[in-house]
Symmetry: C2
Subunit: 278 residues, 2 copies
Amino acid sequence: MRRDYVHGHHRRERQRLHDQAGALVDLLHGDTKYPKGSRVLEAGCGVGAQTVTLARRSPGAAFVSIDVSAASLAAARRAVDLARLDNVEFHQADILDLPFASASFDHVFVCFVLEHLSDPAGALARLRGMLKPGGTLTVIEGDHGSTYFHPDSAAAHAAIQCQVALQAEAGGNALLGRQVYPLMVGAGLEDVRVSPRMVYVDASRPDLVDSFTKKTFIAMIEGVRHSAIAAGLTTTRRFSAGIRDLRRATRADGVFCYTFFKGVGRTVVSSRPSRSAA
Amino acid sequence: MRRDYVHGHHRRERQRLHDQAGALVDLLHGDTKYPKGSRVLEAGCGVGAQTVTLARRSPGAAFVSIDVSAASLAAARRAVDLARLDNVEFHQADILDLPFASASFDHVFVCFVLEHLSDPAGALARLRGMLKPGGTLTVIEGDHGSTYFHPDSAAAHAAIQCQVALQAEAGGNALLGRQVYPLMVGAGLEDVRVSPRMVYVDASRPDLVDSFTKKTFIAMIEGVRHSAIAAGLTTTRRFSAGIRDLRRATRADGVFCYTFFKGVGRTVVSSRPSRSAA
């Protein structure tokens, strides 16, 4: 697994991830609740932006949250402590080399992680192996190709494309959201159901203009400015024009659209030969 | 108003519009119902694909459906007769030159029409003038820039771009959906609320693969093949490659996404000075 994280690990990025979680909690996680007594693996918890939401929404479930980055885990632990949650256990571990027995979890949750992996199919297959029969696997991913806005702007699309290119260079795929369904089916999950979660932002929704368009999306693109210029993907001038045009879409007559994809599938409850014969 | 209709007026196109309406009825019209006794203007009814749905869902409302094309109106009349509906009256008329008294309708409905007009803002302002105080105006439009799919394909995007270019040449805008909010606010409507209606299609939804991706969207793009080649926008080979790649997205591991935008706004109920002062 590639350890490069296109967004970086700075404090501003941690704040962005927490802002993002705040704005999108209901849209993305409103329908995720795990029953009392269930053991849930959160694979790739990062700084804990989703961990806090998950653990709070399912207080009776026991979460095991893993990440490859010790620094991210430390931040996640602090976030969980700050939220006074005691149903999360953290482990530093790689999704492709999990230190758990197979079929040892009731559910698996993976959010904004597959997009950063060079082998998302392999990762999903391994995560599926962690599930007990009948357990669910939940995947949430964005898709930068779902971004469009008014006024339209080639410069803004080019700035977004810098992020897509850098993420691809690091072995990831910023357009992964649309592939959640085939990836989950390919990993052998059953009853896969994918639903798009579109964030539509116009001036009648000032909270989303601020928390999503500005503080989540534009902040994310702005975050690759230096890497993109250093990599020769753009110039200071062109990148600034793109950011300016993205900001233009946050004005009173502007519109901004982005879509996340959430998939839920389950492992087959193995039927016994005697039963199938019956 | 331009009278060129980018999709043409052939029988196959009429069938496509009816298939489209069938597939999308709930998604687009499920929340549109007009009260008994209300008088509703449907502006640009075309072949009646929406008229039948509207009139059936609001049996107590009286619809006045207009279109500039006599041929389309005749088809719409047949569709309404076939559905045994008696609450629709047809008039051949131009949105920019309406033969009705101002403030003579309780509600106005306009669907897949603004995208074909060179002055959508002017059309909306005129339609707003038809409304009694407190009446609602409903707008539904697609946006071809909201189209993305898996596997991704530059050839498929180029084929879609042919449709966008032809529509622009005819004075329209195939990317209008994202502008519904600013257009409605600009036309002086109040309490404008726009909601995206995203059509997400994967193999777990075979009805949509057939009725939407194949029979609505790909059929629409396929419909501009000859005009696009004649206009020098593409070649037979490149266009065919684009259609082939769009079809590729209808296979078991394919995904297709498209978004419509629905806006509802109302005219102000003029407040009397005595009341504001109270």
